[in-house]
Every structure is written in C-alpha cells, then in structure tokens.
C-alpha cells in the first residue's frame, strides 16, 4: 500500500479522530468507509454505507435512519462553506438515498423520510428537506432553506411538486436494493465499533 502512494498527504481514512459509533446489528458498512469526528455516529437498522463514504461528526452528531443508502464519496457532516457546530450535525430520516459525491453540510441539517439526494448535490447547513423529495443531480440547496414534502428540485433550482404518489413503491424498491447491496458489499462494522 505505502509503495503505491505517491501523495505526501496522509491518507484520508486516517485523518481525524475515530468517532464513537452506535450501530444497529443489521447494517451493512464497507470496510473503507470513513467515520471520523468526536460526536456520536448512529446508523439504524438495515442501512447501507458504501466504500469511501465519509461521515464526519466533528461538528455534531450524525444520525442515519432505517434502510438508508449512503453511496460512495459522499460527505455527511461536511464543514464546507456554511457548516457550523451544533448538537446534531446531520439527520437522515428513514429510506433516504444519498447518491455518489453528494455533500451534506453540518449544522442541524435534516433530510426527510424517503428523499433522494442526487449525484453531486450540495446541501447547505441547517437546510430542512421534507419527505419524499427528489433532488436531481447537481442540485444545490442553500443553507437554512426549507423544502416542503414531495418536492422535486431540478434544472438549476427549479421546483415542482411530485404528484405521482409513488412513495410506497419507491420505499419497496429501496428495500430490494438493500437486499442486493447487502450481498455485494462486504460489511465490517467491527472495524468502527472496536
């Protein structure tokens, strides 16, 4: 490993203190996920954390609800430009999907149940996103903004209500996806709890 590295920076995985965690027994968390910080990181039952996802609890607690999927290279609890220290940094409800490269900044940010945060989205500190919302790729939510339930954010910040009413179907799809992911991703929660 060390012979392959050409960067003089220390590896990302070893930066920062090791975070205290509270895991449900049924979660799937990849070996190479990065959990740092000083506050508690809670992951509820049947959630999946992909490799190289970064959960940072330096600015407060990070809580992930049930049956969430956190994809690669996402950052939950980033300090970023607007992040600030609060008791709860980031809270994800149940059935939330955070797609590749998205960044959710710390500061009492709440993502509601059944919401999909698209690829490379940026969510500012203190934003409150309602239930069953969809943020299309590269959407940006300003700090402190409130997005009502069933909203689609698309095309550089345009918004429209989602009237399909497929939340139940989506949640079922999520359950099935988690079933597959559980077989695909070798889970190693012991690395973080130890």
């Amino acid at each position: 490993m060390s012979s392959k590295r050409h960067s003089i920076l220390p590896p990302v995985s070893s930066s920062g203190p090791k975070a205290p965690v509270s895991f449900s027994s049924s979660i799937t968390i990849a070996d190479s996920a990065i959990l740092t910080g000083t506050s508690l990181i809670t992951i509820s039952s049947e959630s999946v954390v992909h490799p190289r996802a970064k959960l940072d609890s330096l600015a407060g607690r990070v809580t992930i609800g049930r049956r969430c999927v956190v994809h690669e290279r996402t950052t939950l609890g980033a300090i970023g430009t607007t992040g600030k220290v609060t008791e709860h940094a980031v809270t994800l409800g149940d059935y939330v999907t955070v797609e590749v490269g998205a960044s959710i900044e710390a500061g009492n940010t709440i993502i509601g149940e059944g919401t999909t945060v698209g690829v490379a989205c940026k969510i500012g500190a203190g934003a409150v996103i309602g239930k069953n919302c969809t943020l299309t790729p590269h959407s940006e939510i300003a700090a402190g903004e409130t997005i009502p339930d069933n909203t689609v954010v698309y095309s550089n910040g345009l918004r429209r209500p989602d009237r399909r009413g497929v939340a139940d179907l989506r949640n079922k799809g999520q359950t099935r996806q988690i079933d597959v992911l559980r077989r695909m991703i070798p889970s190693n929660p012991a690395k973080f709890t130890a």
């Binding site: 299309t136 698309y154 345009l158 918004r159 429209r160 009237r163 399909r164 139940d168 079922k172």
Partner: protein, 604 residues
C-alpha cells in the same frame, strides 16, 4: 483574462467580393496578386465575422477547386428521422402527419426530458405486486413519466389503455381524461348530419342540427376543431346551390364573404381541389357561421376562473414562455382566448423530427457531402473536407534557448509583451500526394488601431508530397545516414534545422530559410513586434478582443497534377475527374485564400 490558444481561421471566398470568388486562374497569378494588394483583408472588419472558419468546418469542391463554407453550400434533405426512436419517416407521411414523431416518443412538457411509458396498476398496490411474476392483472393503464423531473401524465389526467401508439391515443384524450373527437370522427358525425339533410325534411334537419350543436357545445372547442368546423362549413357553403338565391347578390363580390374571394382562399388551403368550374361560375353571397358546429367561436372574455386559480397558485405553477413555445401546435390546443397559462395544462411534446442533409457546391451542383441514408449509420458516403486538400497551419510560440533569459518558460498562450519581438513557428502540413509550392503574404503592419509589425522570414517554400508512410519508413535508412553526414549535429532524422548554430551554441533564426522540414511538413518562422495598447485619447476604450494579435495572411499554394485519374487525392471519392487534362502532361493547379492567424493577447 484567460490566455489565448493560437488559432487559424480561413476565409471562405464566398464572403469576398474580390476576384478570389471565382475559380483561380493559373495563367494570370500576377494580376490577381496586384489586385489583392489593393485591399488587405481585415480580420476585424464586421464582414469578416461571417467568412472566417476553422479548417475543420470547410468543405472543398473538387470540380471548382474552391473552398466551400457552411454558408455557401446548397443543402438537400436526405432523410427525416425521429431523434428518439431513430425511425425514418417517409416524406409522404410528413405532409399528412406533420413534422413530429407519430410513434411513442415524447418529451416532458416541464423539463423537455424524454418520457417513458410506465404501467399503472389500477388496483391499490399491495406488497406482493412488485414482484415481476405477476402479469395477469385484468386492467392495466399506462402513463408517460419523466425520470428527471418526475412529471407524469397522470398529473394532467391522461392515462393510456395500451403501451404502444401513444401518439394516436393522446390525440383522442383531452387534458383531464375526457375523450376528444378526432378529425375523422367529426367528419363521420357531419356525414350523418348531411344525410339527414339530404332527406329533405326540414323539421328533421333542424332537429338533427340542434342535437349536433348541443352535443358539440358540451365539448370544449379547441383550435383544431374550430378550424375543421369552419373549413367544412365554408366547403358546404360553396357547394350549396341554394346560396345563390340570396337577394343580396349584387354586393357579393365585395368583402371576405363573397364566394369568389372565399373560393380563392380555400384554394390556397386545399390545393385546388375546389377549383371546378361550378363554384367559379356561381355568384352569390354566403352567410357566416353562426353556431359552434359551423365554427363560430364566441370569445370567452370572462377570465375570472383563471384569476381565481391564479390566486391559489404560485408563480411556479404557471407555464413559462419556453414551455409554451415547445408545445405542439393544434394538438388539442385550447381556443385562442383560453391559452394554457398553467403548467398543469401542458401536454407531452412529440419529438420534432430531424434531418440528414447532403451538401452541394452552389456553382457546379456537384455533391460535396452526402451522409449514409440509414439513420443508424453515422458515416458519410461522400465528404470532401477541406482538410484533405489544403495544408493545415499550426502555430507554436518559439522560445529560443539563451536568446533571452526568461524565454524558456514560455507557454503558447502567454501574453505578448508590447515592443518585444516574438517568434512563432508556423507548421504547414501537406495532405495531398503532390509536392506543394507555398507563397505567403502578410501586410507589414496588422490592420486595426494597434498595428503590430509582422515579418515572415521565409515567405516562399516547397512542401514534399504526402507520400505513403511505409515508403518513407523504408527510405528512412538511407536518408538518416545522409542527414548525419551533412549536418552531423545528431538532431532527429526527420528534422533539418535551417537556423544556423550561433557562436554560443544556440539556434538563430535566419531569414529566407525554412525552420524545419519533414516528410510532408515544413515549418517557418514569423517575427512579430506587438504594438502597445496605449490609447491616444482618454475617451477611447479598448474594444472587445482588440488586444488579440491577429495577422491576416494570404496563402497561395501551387501544385501539379498529372492528367488522368489523379484527382481523387483524398481517396474518399472517385468523382470529379472533369478537371483532369488530356493525355499524360502535367497540369498546374493553384489555390489562394486569406487566413487569419490569432497569435495571442497583447499585455495591457
């Protein structure tokens, strides 16, 4: 400001008013040259904006031996196709069904993303329904959904019974799910009506008309329906012999309601079908429509409904101008006074068809670009690109090691210092299989407010033919040894530096000699002394991009072709042998054009 990548633009002769526009005449090169000197091409003139193209944009006519730009070719449509399903649409369908895809390809009315057909279970979904092995649900409906903005046609109340031929189904459904009469059904209904009339019983006719009017009044009249109603009404009027009994026939020839002017207008629409002698000879006045079934549309000026709705909605619920523009015309469009102003009344947009086009030379009508007719195939049958007929010019900033201290760190896009001479290497690459003779001409000072001095150190040179790479490789052994013998400096075998080695061991640029030479390329040096961008008056301002140092350069290339099949130089086409002379004697060809070299920005 971002530094500038050097560029070469070539002027198409079509934008020029000089004799260059005509095919070059090899017999009188001097006279053309003299005329050229009278006006130097100014790359900043407003006219130049429309005549300068990168080499890649240009085509070449083999018969006229001229450059052709996208502006001066004649285009012909080869095929029409849908960009979504790549289905070729015959041009006969185009006339009857319009320029949109009539299969199941739709764009989202909100975000123009592609829509896909998804099935909707009519039964409330229970947990087991998602499993793929259930297909025996008796009544499945379908809707169009956008996977990007999550729009679904259920939002405007449109569901489909079957997953295919969505276009035909959509034409029958009004927003909200009510059915709508198609043109064909309307015609049938009218036929019924006229058969009643044919019976001759006045009371029966009146009753039938009233019934029809009542039924159609219940239906909202959209623009298409109104047009069809009006059209059939006027057709009936023209055909009706009773109309001429009207007593006001003396006024008949005036105004819009006169049959003669009306039949003329109808002829415009229907393409002369009504142009029979009977209607022409008949005079008489016609009445206007006065029921909705005849096409009368009372303006609905009461907009309180829309205003009340606006009070309950936000700005995001109204449709934007772009969304309205993208709506297909006449497809269930509401009447003029009730135009869709809410996003909830927008309909899916059938994809606009696209075309594949072939290009012809405007002078000799020969095809210079022709795509493959099959939609899936992106290749071209004929494509005479200019890049395979004329030398490409690439520009590199020359940094002479040791000439001045800082020059080693020069990058091509760096700013140019005023009054400090800089050298650029221009590399001409010959694409044709004949040796080229190149003559360059530039004005001594660039045109414009800030004249920079330009010197081409070697304005005349020859480029070797673009021979086969393998020939070259096989010959290389002999040549390498010869190069070693003559020059002995151990430089690469392909490159012969013409610059002499100075006393301190560095290369120096020498006038009249080429800088480098290879199999089919020659590079020369241009010396430029950039002007200062000091403005004389305080009120003057630097115009946009006026700090770019652009050199107009006149390029004349000459080559010889053998009489015979030598014209297919690029190997792309065997067409265009008309230029070949008789017998085996050599024929001289030449091509002359202006080009513009953008070298970089001058430091302010």
């Amino acid at each position: 400001m971002a530094p500038l990548e050097p560029y070469t633009y070539i002027q198409c002769p079509c934008s020029d008013f000089s004799p260059l526009g005509q095919p070059a005449d090899a017999s009188s090169p001097t006279s053309a040259e003299e005329e050229e000197e009278e006006h130097t091409f100014d790359p900043r003139a407003p006219r130049s904006n429309f005549g300068l193209y990168p080499l890649e944009y240009l085509l070449y006519c083999e018969d006229c031996h001229q450059i052709r730009c996208p502006r001066c070719v004649a285009e012909e449509i080869v095929t029409y196709y849908c960009p979504s399903c790549l289905f070729e649409v015959p041009s006969s369908n185009l006339k009857s069904e319009g320029n949109r895809c009539t299969r199941s390809c739709f764009q989202c009315p909100i975000c123009i993303g592609p829509l896909s057909v998804t099935s909707l279970e009519s039964a409330p979904p229970d947990p087991n329904l998602l499993s793929p092995d259930q297909g025996g649900i008796p009544h499945t409906t379908y809707c169009l959904t956008c996977s990007y903005c999550n729009w679904s046609s259920t939002e405007i109340g449109i569901r489909f019974d079957k997953p295919n031929s969505i276009h035909a189904q959509l034409a029958k459904i009004r927003n909200g799910g009510e059915t709508r009469l198609t043109a064909k059904e309307r015609k049938e209904r009218r036929k019924e009506l006229s058969s009643h009339r044919g019976g001759g019983h006045a009371a029966a006719v009146a009753a039938a008309a009233a019934a029809a009017a009542a039924s159609e009044e219940a239906e909202v009249v959209d623009l298409e329906t109104q047009f069809a109603n009006l059209k059939s009404f006027y057709n009936r009027q023209l055909a009706d012999p009773n109309a001429s009994e009207n007593s006001l026939s003396t006024l008949g020839d005036l105004g819009f309601s006169s049959p003669s002017s009306l039949s003329r207008i109808m002829n415009l629409y229907t393409g002369g079908r009504l142009n029979d002698t009977r209607t022409k000879s008949r005079l008489g006045i016609m009445r206007e429509a006065y029921t909705p079934s005849e096409g009368l549309l009372v303006a609905n000026l009461d907009e309180s409904d829309a205003i009340a709705k606006l009070h309950q909605t936000t700005l995001e619920d109204t449709s934007s101008m772009d969304q309205l523009m993208a709506q297909p015309p006449n497809l269930g469009e509401p009447q003029l006074h009730g135009e869709a102003c809410f996003a909830s009344s927008l309909r899916p947009i059938p994809y606009l068809l696209r075309t594949k086009r072939s290009k012809r030379c405007p002078v000799c009508r020969h095809i210079i670009s022709k795509p493959e007719a099959k939609i899936q195939n992106t290749r071209f049958r004929i494509r005479l690109v200019a890049g395979s007929y004329m030398p490409s010019i690439s520009i590199k900033r020359l940094s002479l090691p040791g000439a001045n201290g800082s020059s080693s760190s020069l990058v091509a896009g760096d700013f140019l210092e005023p009054f400090k001479p800089v050298h650029f290497v221009l590399t001409f690459k010959n694409p044709i299989f004949e040796p080229l003779k190149v003559t360059l001409g530039t004005p001594a000072k660039t045109p414009g407010r800030f004249p920079s001095k330009v010197t081409v150190l070697c304005p005349t040179f020859d480029i070797d033919a673009n021979t086969d790479v393998w020939d070259e490789a096989l010959k290389d052994n002999d040549r390498e040894s010869s190069v070693r013998n003559t020059d002995g400096s151990g430089s690469s075998s392909r490159r012969q530096r013409a610059g002499t080695v100075g006393e301190s061991g560095q290369f120096q640029v020498e006038a009249g000699k080429v800088w480098g030479r290879g199999r089919n390329w020659v590079s020369i040096v241009v010396e430029v002394v950039p002007a200062s961008l000091q403005l004389r008056n305080k009120d003057d301002v630097l115009k946009e991009d006026e700090d770019i140092l652009e050199i107009p350069m006149f390029v004349r290339i000459e080559w010889e072709v053998e009489g015979g099949g030598d014209d297919d130089v690029s190997g792309q086409s065997a067409a265009g042998r008309s230029g070949a002379g008789t017998g085996e004697q050599k024929e001289k060809r030449e091509l002359a054009y202006w080009c513009v070299l953008g070298l970089g920005r001058i430091k302010q």
